[in-house]
């Protein structure tokens, strides 16, 4: 027993070192570092949004009709929209909305996908078959189309948009967790837990679950870009966040009416979406390369 514990400790140390090595590998690529940098700035902006925004109340939706459609300048670096609201403030407050929404989607997806994956992987047989076939069926749909159909029938608002984006997305996590569980459930620590007489639920959630969480968290981070883009797309179609709350997709859509003359409304909010999604995708690419042993070998040889 003691030896076992020491062994695990040793493993943890090794693992820590490996993570560090992985991190170095990731940061070797300038593009990945760039992506990580933007994400850090974005998160900081979202956390400090009300303090950073020059006109926080306008960012939240208060109109200011005296200064409608002012071009970018000293007072309003990104100009103002048709209700006189400062675009920069709306983008900063919008960063908070977008991140919050994306995190909510990730949480919903994990809450549905992970337990199903645990059950499918642990029980196997018929249960596994049913869950996985259902997951495959959902994956057979083009995801954004399914999301649009769902919001269109539930009614357009932010909550429904979150649900609609989560429904086509959870099967990926079920697949991921299931494959982990299948390899974990034959491990010694699970067997000893079973020998001690731990219940199935306890084994699944206390012993197996913590061991398959790290790939889930990595995957969730990588998916953020896609989720933010989907949210913005739904917002653009008027199926997501409802006005007057600030949302980047809605802002691009609002600016469409004026954009051949007042180009700044759509342009800057679009840049915000683009940079955010780009950053998450660049980071994702880097992480995937670092995790793929075939590619890692190539990296190390260089």
């Amino acid at each position: 027993m003691v030896m076992e514990i020491q062994k695990t400790k040793h493993n943890w140390l090794n693992k820590g070192r490996e993570y560090w090595r992985g991190m170095n590998l990731i940061l070797k690529n300038p593009l990945t570092t760039f992506g990580l940098g933007i994400i850090i700035i974005l998160v900081a902006t979202a956390l400090l949004a009300p303090h950073l925004a020059p006109y926080p109340e306008q960012g939240r939706g208060m109109s200011n009709l005296k200064e409608r459609l002012v071009p970018p300048g000293f007072r309003h670096p990104f100009g103002t929209d048709n209700l006189g609201r400062d675009i920069l403030s709306r983008i900063i407050i919008g960063a908070r909305t977008s991140l919050k929404a994306a995190i909510a989607v990730v949480l919903i997806v994990i809450a549905i996908g992970v337990p199903l994956g645990l059950i499918a992987g642990y029980f196997g047989g018929k249960v596994d078959e049913i869950i996985m076939r259902f997951a495959d069926m959902i994956l057979a749909f083009p995801s954004l189309l399914l999301a649009i159909a769902i919001v269109a029938s539930l009614g357009p608002n932010l909550l429904n948009a979150l649900i609609a984006i989560s429904i086509p997305w959870w099967p990926w996590y079920t697949r991921l967790v299931r494959s982990q569980v299948i390899s974990l459930k034959e491990m010694q620590f699970v067997e000893s837990a079973r020998a001690i007489g731990a219940s199935r639920l306890r084994i699944m959630f206390r012993h197996i679950l913590p061991n398959c969480l790290s790939p889930v968290i990595v995957q969730a981070t990588l998916d953020m870009g896609y989720i933010i883009l989907s949210l913005a797309s739904l917002g653009f179609l008027g199926l997501g966040t409802q006005p007057p709350a600030a949302d980047w997709g809605v802002m691009v859509s609002d600016g469409r009416e004026f954009f051949l003359k007042q180009w700044w409304i759509s342009t800057f909010s679009g840049v915000a979406i683009f940079l955010t999604v780009l950053a998450f995708n660049l980071l994702g690419d880097g992480v995937r390369e670092a995790l793929d042993p075939k590619i890692r070998w190539r990296f190390q040889r260089k």
């Binding site: 690529n29 300038p30 593009l31 076939r133 259902f134 495959d136 069926m137 057979a140 749909f141 083009p142 954004l144 189309l145 399914l146 649009i148 159909a149 769902i150 269109a152 029938s153 539930l154 009614g155 870009g225 883009l229 913005a232 797309s233 653009f236 179609l237 008027g238 199926l239 997709g249 691009v252 859509s253 469409r256 954009f259 051949l260 180009w263 759509s266 342009t267 679009g270 979406i273 683009f274 999604v277 780009l278 995708n281 660049l282 690419d285 075939k294 590619i295 190539r298 260089k302």
Partner: protein, 338 residues
Amino acid sequence: MLRYIIKRLIWLAFVLLGLCAITFTLSRIIPSDPAASYLGPRPRPEQVEKVRVQLGLDKPLYVQFAYYMRNLVHGDLGESLRTHRPVLQGIWEHLPASLDLMITAIFIALSVGIPLGVLSAKKENTTLDHLTRLFSVANVSVPSFWLAMIFQIVFFRWLGIFPIGGRIDTVVNLVSPIKQITGFYALDALITGNWAALKSTLSHLILPSITLAAYSTGLIARMTRSTMLEVLREDYITTARAYGISEREILFVQALRNALGPTLTTAGLCFAFMLTGTFFVELIFFWPGLGTYTVNAIFLNDYPVIMGITIIMAVFYVVVNLAVDILLAVANPRIRLG
């Protein structure tokens, strides 16, 4: 081989059934009463009751589902709440315009994405590689609705070299109208030798198809790069080099031939994915295709149209997926296990 195909076809039937069950459920959880919205604003209660019976909404749910399936099998997707015209007819009329756009876009994506991927793999970890990768990730990340608007500002308002939207110039269409043969404007104009119309069609096609192609270009370039990297490490490439075969032939013939499989799978998926892409691109470029048809239905809460399009597009998506898988299995004996 045959067993693999049959297995996949049976699975396809299940997926389609599940798909119909999902759209049926969605069309029943719609908050507003379908019978009431069928009649338009302020219907009388007895009218609503009549339509209810007429639409079969008074029957139990499983009977409704049976009706729904029966209609689907007969190609009846219901009719639009606004225009009271059959949804299938609407889809059929708007399809050629979208296909026009999608085929041009996939062509652009392949002809830009594959060379970029090959180049990137050849020059792995150089500045050129980093730039190419940045370009492909940027293509995958850019919101198409925003890219479309930026294109309009730059190429229409500032440079004035491309039209802002539509399929053909109204004046050109009046002076030398296109004879509709296939429904694809460019092709029809080419067949009939209508050069003015051809020129106008092509210049209208460029911006929307580039916008629509962006996502696929990035994905194809990425996929080509990573498979090329693997193939280039294989022994037969070294052998080919030892034989003194030119580097260009090794890259674009020997290696690319074996790296093309995953790229083509990606292209198939991209083509199916473009259906949703057209929603945004067509809306902004005033392109009279399926995307515009759908988005208008969304704005007007025209549920039968939305559901009809969802079914048709999902079927298209599933079938393209299957076709790509089967083609690959035929081409590559190693994945015939299925």
